[in-house]
Amino acid sequence: MLAYIIRRIGQSALVLLIVGLVAFSMFRFVGDPIDNMLGQERTAEDIDRLRAQLGLDQPFVVQYFKFLEGAVQGNFGVSYRQGRPVAEILLERAPATLELAAVSGILAILFGIALGVFTAIRRDGVLANFIMSASLIGVSLPTFLIGILLIYLFSVELGWLPSFGRGETVDLGGWSTGFLTESGLKALILPSITLGLYQMTLIMRLVRSEMLEVLRQDYIRFARARGLRDRAVNFRHALKNTMVPVITVIGLQLGAIIAFAIITETVFQWPGVGLLFINAIQFVDIPVMAAYLMLISVMFVGINLLVDILYFFIDPRLRADRSGGH
């Protein structure tokens, strides 16, 4: 198991390095940071000087290795835009994104699994079919439009919920949380629905199809033939087996939630890392972009690993395969 994890981390690290290199080669096409750093009355000489100072005149491979060198030591450089260490900025912004992602993820998983199980068990029911069809509306409109429509309805027309931002936050030892204030909780509602809707639909549909697949399995028929109660059959036997493939996808979807947060955060002016990234693109803040991509990649690798380990605990067959060694 340990060997497996180490190998996995090794492979992932290699991939990260390559992704990083590709990402870095992209940065010079995003635009030129210089114009945003200098005012209207700059001269061509100012431009060249600043470019040299930032090391932008060097080949991107050199820039990349410099970045790596710093990143290994936890130093992601200084934001061109804010003139502050990137690590500090990311730490400051991360709680907003993580809280949003957590709430959306939990909503998506809870409702996704519940509705998925329901629609699978009541396969031919009217309500189940309606839910199946209705859920597709959520994935047939782009997220940004859903967000804007929600704002229009609940903030502007009805005035129930705030239109943007996180509301009041409370600082708990460096972690700013919106969970402890009324305005913070209210502010979470619309963005987390916007962000979670798509994932919820995906999870629900996946759970349904996996569950239907499992329900056709012999061991489910056998469980029924033994007279086990429906609840035991559906949940103890079927759902648990359904979860094996579903967990992988949920893991990936958690990653997707953090990535899609870019759009939701832009629409709701949610002060998280996604918004930071979009701003960084807008201002060609290369250190921030690089660090964000690294952070996201590391997070995904972590989630993947976690999913693998979770697998290990859910499915005894894998335990045998892997602990047996290679």
Binding site: Y219, A223, R226, R229, V244, P316, R317
Partner: protein
């Protein structure tokens, strides 16, 4: 007066399809007494399993019982509602499926699967159930049962798993076992052991068994009586010795002739020409007539011949001399 454990009367199962209603089980009747093993034999699609599923109430919709009655220990069960039927399953009727590799939930320990079944049906405590689980495994011949209760299905071989499946089917002490091709998926060397096990356990407990198989060897070896099915209908029903040695129905005859066991000493196997009809195209009259060398016009039109007392479902039952 003692009831047979299971009594099926004129049972039909129908499935509505776009080509009209098909009838995978059509007017089947038979009884199984306590301690008796009835072999149900026939080709794939003959309706053997469908009848078993109908008895245990596990027909997959839209398949449903259209006519007929099913009696279990004197109680009519074909009209029972969902939960009442569920209580019977496992408790009164046990079932053994074909493939032990897929019959067990891979994520649950076999001990848990046993105790779960017992706790559902028997008024016993968990610790008592755990004790009985070990005993049950022991009884089906799992060595080291006390430790093996904590194993997962994938840690057993196929034969061992089928023993576990049998233990599961029997653990709430049902009066009827439906064994649907219990040995088909197993190695030949293991088949005999499983059949012997099933036979011994049922004899000991007086459990009635419906043994569904297409293997005449298994029939010969394990059963007391045999029901031969063709295209959803009962072709012949009788004590195993009579049916094997003096088949009356031309189909049974053909079946015997095409089986190595029944044609011992013969140099070449007999073959029945053609194939069993699809269920949506069952011919008029006797369903076997297109393949029957003895068919006449009578066979080609209604009414359908039915099994009667000691008599095969054939207008022209064979007599001994015709056995090749």
């Amino acid at each position: 007066m003692t009831h047979p454990v299971l009594s099926i009367r004129d049972l039909s199962v129908e499935i509505p399809t776009r080509h009209g209603v098909v009838r995978p089980v059509d007017g089947v009747s038979y009884d199984i007494a306590a301690g008796e093993i009835l072999g149900v034999v026939g080709e794939s699609g003959a309706g053997k399993s469908m009848a078993g599923n109908a008895v245990i109430g596990l027909l997959t919709p839209p398949a449903h019982i259209s006519t007929g009655e099913i009696w279990l220990n004197g109680q009519r069960i074909d009209q029972l509602t969902g939960d009442a039927m569920r209580r019977l399953r496992g408790k009164e009727i046990g079932m053994v499926f074909q493939d032990p590799l897929t019959s067990l939930n891979p994520l649950l320990r076999i001990g848990d699967q046993l105790t779960e079944t017992m706790l559902t049906h028997l008024p016993i405590s968990r610790s008592e159930a755990e004790k009985r689980a070990v005993a049950a495994l022991d009884e089906v011949g799992i060595p080291g049962a006390a430790e093996r209760v904590n194993s997962y299905p994938h840690e057993f071989s196929g034969g061992m798993r089928q023993r576990v499946v049998i233990a599961l089917a029997l653990c709430a002490e049902p009066s009827l076992i439906i064994a649907d091709e219990p040995t088909t998926a197993l190695d030949v060397s293991v088949q005999a052991q499983i059949i012997a096990l099933l036979r011994r356990l049922c004899r000991d407990r007086g459990t009635a068994v419906m043994l569904i198989t297409h293997d005449m060897g298994v029939i010969a070896e394990a059963t007391d009586r045999v029901a031969v099915m063709y295209a959803g209908r009962l072709a012949e029903l009788g004590p195993v010795r009579d049916v094997l040695t003096h088949p009356q129905h031309p189909y049974t005859h053909g079946l015997m002739a095409s089986t190595p066991l029944a044609s011992q000493g013969k140099s070449r196997l007999h073959q029945i020409p053609g194939a069993m009809p699809r269920l949506d195209a069952v011919p008029e009259g006797c369903a076997f007539h297109p393949r029957c060398p003895y068919a006449t016009d009578k066979c080609r039109q209604p009414p359908v011949p039915r099994v009667t007392d000691g008599q095969a479902a054939c207008w022209y039952p064979l007599v001994d001399e015709k056995v090749i």
